[in-house]
Symmetry: C2
Subunit: 392 residues, 2 copies
C-alpha cells in the first residue's frame, strides 16, 4: 500500500506551485511577456564563465577513471580541503578538511545536520519568517519544529518568545541569515545575544544545543552591510552552505556541511554523516561538480543585479506607502501586505498579472514576498502595478 | 546530543573497509603493485568517450540559465522521456516520462521506492546473497528487512524458504539480478514463479505486494545469457537503475526509478516521490549529468574486460577444485570458501596479499566474493595464489 504519510502531503496546498500554475495559464491568454513573475527564488544571472571553463578543463585533464569515479563517503579530500581554506580565508576560522562533509546543496547538509545532532522526538527551534521547507526537512528526521513568531519591526530575533519556547528537548536552533524571505541579515548583536542564551541553556539542560546555520545566501550581501559569520560567535555551530545562489548552480545540487572544529563532538559528527547517508540513499554528491566548486569557490556570479533591483523596488515601494524592513542581501523583500491579509493582497496582484507569495507560508502572515531575482526591466514594469495595488 | 542510532553504526564492523585498510597498510610494506585487490566493486574501465564529449557539448550549447538551473522535482522532462524511450526500445515496454523519476543512482531510487510503497513497521523480503547496504537502506525507512536464505546450488530463489517468510506485513519484495555478489541472472522461470506467488499473495492479503527490482548491473550480461526484464513479468514492479556500472559513472550519482505503467497506483507513486525527497534532503539530481545520460543512455563503457576476466577466473578456479556457480554477468563471482569458513579463508588470502570479501556480509556464509573489475593482468597474477590457497 502507498505510504500515507507521503501520499497525504499531496493534499497540502502548495501555494507557490499554484501561483506558478496560475501564471502559466494566464500567460497563454495575455502572453508570457506580460506576466510579472516574482514568485520563485531562481537565480536570474548565469554561473560565472569560470564554472564552465573549469568543467571542460577537468573533463580534459583529470585521469579517466578518477574523473567519474566514486567519491569517498565524506567527499573528495582535496575538495574538502578547498572548502575549509575558502572559509578560513573569508572568516578567519580554523576549519580543516576533517570538518567538512560534501552534500547535495544546503538541503542535503541540513538533512545530515538534523539527523546527526537530534533524535526522533527532539525539538528544533527556528525563527519566523523562515523557509517553508524546514517543516518537511525536520519532520523527515522525526523532529518537532517550533517556529518563534517574527519580530516584524526588524526581522531580527524575537527573544522573549524564543526564551519561552526553549526546553530540555531543544536539540538545535536553526537560523537563516541572510534570510529567505525577509532579506535581512542578523546583526552581530543578535547573534551574540543568541549565543549567550544558548551557552546558558546548555549548562542548565546539561547537554549541547547546536546552532544550525543555513547559509545559501551568505554571498549575496549588499554594499555597506556587515554580515557576521555565526560560527565565529558560538562553538557548537554547524554551517550548511550551497553553491546554488552564489554561483548560480541550483540545478547541480552541490554544497557542504561545515562543523566548527570547536564544537562538542565535532569529529564524531563528521564521522556519522556518512552513516546517515546510508539510510537516506545519498551516497555523496557528483565528483565532477565537487572538483568544479573546489576550483571556483572564490568566485561568484555577477550578483550586482540583485542589489540594483532591491534599491529600485525599495525606494519605489516605500514612496508609494508600503511598509518594509529594507533587505541587507539575498534577492527577497518582505513588505507588509496593505490591508493586512496577504492572501487577499496577492490575489489582487495576480489579477493584475503580478505574482507574489503570501507570507503565511513563511510563518509570517500579513506580509508578502517579492523574489526580485529577475531582469531589472521586469522590476521597472512592476512598479506602476505596485502603485495601483496600494490604492485599490 | 548525538543521535545514538547513527553513532552506534560506527561500532559495527565494516568488513570491506577493514580489508581496504589492511591492503593500504600492506602496500606500504610490499608495494602497491604486489597487492591483488579484488575487494571493491568499482568499475575498472573508464566512461565511454561519448560521455565527456557530451558534457562539453552541453556546456557549450545549452542556454546559460537552463544549463545549471533547477530541475523540476521529478527530473527534466526531456531526460525522463529519453529514459522511457530507452527502456521501451530495449524491453518492448510502454513507459512514458510520467513513469520515470530521476534519482541519485540506484541508492536514491531505492530510498524513494521503499518509502513510497511501504510504511514504518512494514516488511521487505529479499534474497541471499545480497548487497549488504539493503539493511541500512530499509532501516532508514523504518522497515524490517527479511532475508531469504540462499539456494547455494544455483543462486536462483529458495522458494520454500520464501513462502515461509511472506506475511500480510510484506509490502515489497526486493530482487537484484544480475546479482551482487553471485553474478547470477534470475532466469525467466525464476521470475515467472516469483510473479505467480506474488499475484496469489496479493489476492490473499488484499493489498499489493510491489516488486522492487534493483538493476545497476542490467547492462553487464555475458554473451549467450538471456537476462529477462522483471517488470515485463509482474505489473507491480518498480525498477531502480543506475548509470554507475554500465557507463562507469559511479561518482556522478545518476540513475532513476521507473514505475511500471501497469502497476497499481503507478501515477501516484511518481507523484509522491518528490514529497519523499522533501523529507530526506534530496531535491533532484544534477542537471548537467541528467542531460548527459539522456544523450548517452544507449551507450556502454567497454565492458568486455569483465567477461574476459570472468572466463579466465572461472576456468582456472574450477580447474583447481573451487566450487562455483558460474556468473552470467556483473563483475562478481561467489565461490564456496574451501574449508567452509569464509572469514578464515579470506584471512589466509590476505596474508598472501589477495583481497577477497567473506560472503557473510552478503547474508551467505561459506562463500567469498571476487570483484574482478580489475585489469586482466591482475587476474592472471592472482591465479597461482588461488591455486596455493586451495591446497593450504
Amino acid at each position: 500500500m502507498l505510504n500515507q504519510t507521503f501520499a497525504s502531503m499531496l493534499n497540502e496546498k502548495d501555494v507557490i506551485f499554484e501561483i506558478f500554475q496560475y501564471a502559466q495559464d494566464k500567460a497563454k491568454i495575455v502572453g508570457a511577456e506580460n506576466i510579472l513573475d516574482f514568485s520563485l527564488g531562481n537565480p536570474s544571472v548565469p554561473a560565472p564563465v569560470s564554472v564552465n571553463d573549469t568543467i571542460k578543463s577537468i573533463v580534459d585533464t583529470c585521469p579517466p577513471l578518477a574523473l567519474h569515479g566514486y567519491s569517498p563517503n565524506r567527499g573528495l579530500p582535496e575538495v574538502r580541503a578547498a572548502m575549509a581554506e575558502d572559509l578560513n580565508r573569508k572568516f578567519g576560522t580554523h576549519y580543516t578538511m576533517n570538518n567538512i562533509f560534501m552534500t547535495q546543496g544546503a538541503a542535503g547538509a541540513l538533512a545530515h545536520a538534523f539527523r546527526a545532532v537530534a533524535a526522533p522526538g527532539d525539538e528544533i527551534i527556528t525563527f519566523a519568517p523562515c523557509f517553508s521547507e524546514y517543516k518537511p526537512y525536520t519532520a523527515g528526521a522525526g523532529l518537532k519544529l517550533k517556529v518563534v513568531p517574527a519580530d516584524i519591526s526588524s526581522f531580527q530575533i524575537n527573544f522573549d518568545a524564543f526564551l519561552g519556547m526553549l526546553s530540555p528537548r531543544t536539540a538545535a536552533v536553526l537560523i537563516n541569515s541572510p534570510n529567505n524571505p525577509s532579506g535581512v541579515v542578523y546583526s552581530a548583536d543578535t547573534i551574540k545575544k543568541l549565543a549567550g542564551i544558548l551557552e546558558e541553556k546548555q549548562l542548565e539542560y546539561g547537554h549541547p544545543i547546536y546552532l544550525i546555520s543555513d547559509e545559501p545566501y551568505r554571498d549575496i550581501v549588499f554594499s555597506g552591510v556587515d554580515a557576521p559569520y555565526p560560527a565565529a560567535f558560538y562553538a557548537n555551530t554547524l554551517t550548511a552552505y550551497s553553491f546554488s545562489k552564489s554561483i548560480s548552480l541550483p540545478g547541480e545540487r552541490i554544497g557542504y556541511l561545515a562543523v566548527n572544529p570547536e564544537a562538542e563532538d565535532a569529529g564524531k559528527i563528521i564521522e556519522i554523516c556518512p552513516q546517515i547517508s546510508r539510510t537516506i540513499g545519498t551516497n555523496q554528491t557528483g565528483t565532477l561538480m565537487q572538483r568544479t566548486v573546489a576550483e571556483v569557490c572564490g568566485d561568484t556570479a555577477d550578483l550586482s543585479v540583485y542589489e540594483k533591483n532591491e534599491k529600485l523596488l525599495y525606494e519605489a515601494l516605500t514612496s508609494y506607502g508600503y511598509e518594509c524592513v529594507e533587505p541587507d542581501g539575498t534577492f527577497y523583500m518582505f513588505p507588509k501586505a496593505p490591508g493586512g491579509d496577504a492572501f487577499a493582497f496577492c490575489d489582487k496582484a495576480k489579477e493584475l498579472n503580478l505574482m507574489l507569495v503570501p507570507g503565511d507560508i513563511f510563518y509570517c502572515p500579513g506580509h508578502f514576498r517579492i523574489a526580485y531575482c529577475v531582469p531589472t526591466e521586469r522590476v521597472e514594469r512592476s512598479l506602476p502595478v505596485f502603485k495601483q495595488l496600494i490604492s485599490m
